[in-house]
C-alpha cells in the first residue's frame, strides 16, 4: 500500500500534466449537471403550482 502511494506520487509529474487535459471536459460536464438539476427543479415547481388545490 505504502509502496503504491509512493509510486503514484513519484509519477505525479506525469499524470498530473496529463490530467490537466481533462479539466475543460470536467468543467463543462459539471456545468451541464448543475444546469440539468436546476431545470428539473424549476419544472417540478411549475408542476406543483399548476396542480389543482385540495
Amino acid at each position: 500500500m505504502t509502496f503504491a502511494v509512493i509510486l503514484v506520487l513519484a509519477h505525479a509529474g506525469h499524470w498530473i500534466v496529463s490530467a490537466l487535459y481533462l479539466v475543460p471536459v470536467l468543467v463543462i460536464v459539471a456545468a451541464l449537471a448543475v444546469q440539468s438539476r436546476r431545470e428539473r427543479r424549476r419544472a417540478r415547481r411549475r408542476d406543483e403550482e399548476d396542480a389543482p388545490g385540495p
Binding site: 509519477h11 490537466l20 487535459y21 481533462l22 471536459v25
Partner: protein, 477 residues
C-alpha cells in the same frame, strides 16, 4: 433503465475511460516526426484555450445563427465548365495508370519498404494526401478512382456489344447502407496499424488487387454509381471529406457552394454513424497505441492470447485488434453520450434517430484528426515521392531525374507543425459545432430549444479536442 440513469451511466463510463487513458504519461505518435518545439505556454494550456474557443464559438452560434443556413443553401455558383466525358476518361486513365504503377512496383520492385514506391504512395499520398485534397478541391478521388474507371470502361464495351441485352443491376439492400465502407476502412486501418507485414510492398500490392477485384464484383452486381457511393470504402471515405469542400464537381461543372453545405446534405443510411466513429477511432488508436499506457497493457492481453495457443506474433496482432476496437468503442460511446444528453431536451426522438441526424458534425472532426495526426507525415514523408517516382522499383533507375532528391526537414519547423495541428483540431470541432447547431435549428422549433439541445454536443466536442491534443502533445515532448 431510465433515460437519466442511462445518461449518467454513459457519462461515468466515458469519463472513466478517458481517465484510464489520461492516467498514463503522454503518448508518442506512430507517424509524427517532431523535433524540439519552442512554445510560449505549456501544451495543456492549448487544450484549455481550445475549449474556450469552442465555448465562445458555441455562444456565437447561439446568438448570431438563428436560422438554418446549410440545409437548403442557394444553388452553387458555376466557376468552370469542361466536357464531362473526356474529363472522366482522362481522370480514369490517370487513376488506372497510377494504380498499375504502384501494384507493379510492389510486386516487381525491391522489398525494402522505404525504397519502394508502393508503401509511401499507399500510406502517405493515398491515405493522407487524398483526404486533404478532397477537403480543398472536392471529390478528386471519384475522378481518379481506378476500379470505377475500369468498371465504366467494361460497361461501355458491354453496352456496345450487347445493347439493351445487359441485365439490370440488383437492388442494393437498404439495411447494408455504408456498412461495407465502415468495415473496409476498419480493415485498412488494421493492416496499417496492426498487421505484422504492413510494410511489405508485395503484400500491399496483392491486397490492392484483391480490393479492386472485390469492388469490380460489387459494381457489376449492384451498379457502379450506387456501389461507389455506399460500399467502396475509399470512395465513401474520400467522398465524405469532399463534402467539406466549397468546391463541387458535377457533370463537368465546377461549382462554388456554401462551405459545409455538402455535409448537411449527406444522406444518412445505415452504417454512416459507425463509419464516422471508425474514422475517428482508428486515427486515435494510431496515437494511443504508441504510448506507455498501451505499452503496459498490451503485453498482458498478448499473454492471454498466447495462452490460447496463438504464436507470439499473432497474439500481439490479436491484442492490438482488441485495442483498436476498444478505442473505436470509446469514440462511439462519447458520441452516444452527447446524443443521450440531447434526448433530455427532446425525449420524443429516439437516440438512434438523433445519432443519425447529427452524424454530419463528425465529418469535420474526422478530417481534423487526420490533419492533426498525419500532417508531419505528409509534410516530410510526402516529399519522398519525388525520388520514389523516379526510382519506383528501388533498382537504381532515375526515370524523372529526381532520384537523388532528399527530404527537406526544414520545410516547416516543429513549432509550425504544432500550430497547424492545434488549428486543425479547433477549426474541425468548431465546424462540427456549426453543423450540429444548424441541424438542431431544423429539428427544433425555437432557437433557444436548439441551443439547449447542443449543450451536450459542446461537451463531446471539447472532449474530442482535449483527447486529440493530449494524443498529439506527447510526440512533441
Amino acid at each position: 433503465m431510465t433515460q437519466r440513469r442511462a445518461v449518467l451511466a454513459a457519462a461515468g463510463g466515458a469519463v472513466a475511460l478517458v481517465c484510464v487513458a489520461v492516467a498514463g504519461p503522454d503518448v508518442a505518435s506512430a507517424h509524427g516526426l517532431v523535433g524540439r518545439q519552442d512554445l510560449p505556454i505549456p501544451r495543456w494550456l492549448f487544450a484549455w484555450a481550445a475549449a474556450v474557443v469552442l465555448i465562445v464559438s458555441f455562444v456565437g452560434l447561439a446568438v448570431l445563427w438563428p436560422r438554418p443556413r446549410l440545409e437548403d443553401p442557394p444553388p452553387g455558383r458555376r466557376l468552370l465548365r469542361l466536357p464531362a466525358e473526356p474529363l472522366e476518361v482522362l481522370g480514369g486513365v490517370v487513376g488506372v495508370a497510377a494504380f498499375a504503377g504502384v501494384v507493379y512496383a510492389g510486386l516487381a520492385g525491391t522489398q525494402t519498404a522505404t525504397a519502394n514506391l508502393a508503401p509511401t504512395t499507399i500510406y502517405v499520398i493515398f491515405w493522407v494526401g487524398i483526404p486533404v485534397a478532397s477537403a480543398l478541391f472536392g471529390d478528386v478521388f471519384r475522378l481518379l478512382n481506378p476500379w470505377r474507371a475500369v468498371a465504366r470502361a467494361v460497361a461501355w464495351v458491354a453496352r456496345r456489344g450487347m445493347g439493351d441485352g445487359l441485365p439490370e443491376p440488383l437492388a442494393y439492400p437498404e439495411w447494408l447502407g455504408r456498412w461495407p465502407a465502415a468495415i473496409g476502412i476498419l480493415a485498412f486501418a488494421w493492416v496499417e496499424l496492426i498487421y505484422a507485414n504492413r510494410d511489405a510492398p508485395d503484400q500491399l500490392a496483392v491486397m490492392a488487387l484483391a480490393y479492386a477485384a472485390t469492388q469490380l464484383v460489387g459494381m457489376s452486381l449492384f451498379g457502379i454509381e450506387l456501389w461507389s457511393r455506399r460500399a467502396d470504402a475509399f470512395g465513401v471515405y474520400f467522398g465524405l471529406f469532399a463534402r467539406l469542400s466549397p468546391l463541387r464537381w458535377t457533370d463537368g461543372r465546377l461549382e462554388l457552394r456554401r462551405p459545409l453545405s455538402g455535409v448537411a446534405a449527406l444522406d444518412v443510411v445505415p452504417g454512416t454513424v459507425a463509419l464516422l466513429c471508425v474514422m475517428i477511432g482508428t486515427t486515435s488508436f494510431d496515437g494511443f497505441s504508441n504510448g506507455p499506457t498501451w505499452s503496459s497493457l498490451a503485453p498482458h492481453i498478448q499473454s492471454f492470447f498466447a495462452s490460447l495457443g496463438l504464436s507470439s506474433e499473432h497474439a500481439l496482432e490479436a491484442a492490438f485488434t482488441v485495442g483498436l476496437l476498444g478505442v473505436v468503442g470509446v469514440i462511439s460511446a462519447c458520441y452516444r453520450l452527447g446524443i443521450l444528453g440531447m434526448r433530455t431536451v427532446d425525449p420524443s426522438r429516439s437516440a438512434g434517430e438523433l445519432a443519425r441526424r447529427f452524424v454530419g458534425s463528425l465529418v469535420p472532426i474526422a478530417l481534423a484528426y487526420v490533419v492533426a495526426h498525419y500532417f508531419s507525415l505528409l509534410a516530410y514523408q510526402g516529399q519522398a515521392v519525388a525520388y520514389l517516382a523516379s526510382d519506383p522499383l528501388g533498382d537504381g533507375s532515375n526515370l524523372l531525374g529526381t532520384a537523388s532528391s532528399t527530404i527537406d526537414y526544414g520545410v516547416i519547423t516543429s513549432t509550425g507543425i504544432w500550430y497547424v495541428q492545434v488549428a486543425a483540431l479547433v477549426l474541425g470541432h468548431a465546424a462540427g459545432l456549426a453543423l450540429a447547431h444548424d441541424r438542431a435549428l431544423v429539428l427544433y422549433r425555437r432557437p433557444s430549444e436548439a441551443t439547449r439541445s447542443q449543450y451536450w454536443m459542446l461537451a463531446v466536442m471539447v472532449a474530442f479536442t482535449s483527447l486529440g491534443l493530449w494524443l498529439l502533445s506527447a510526440q512533441a515532448q
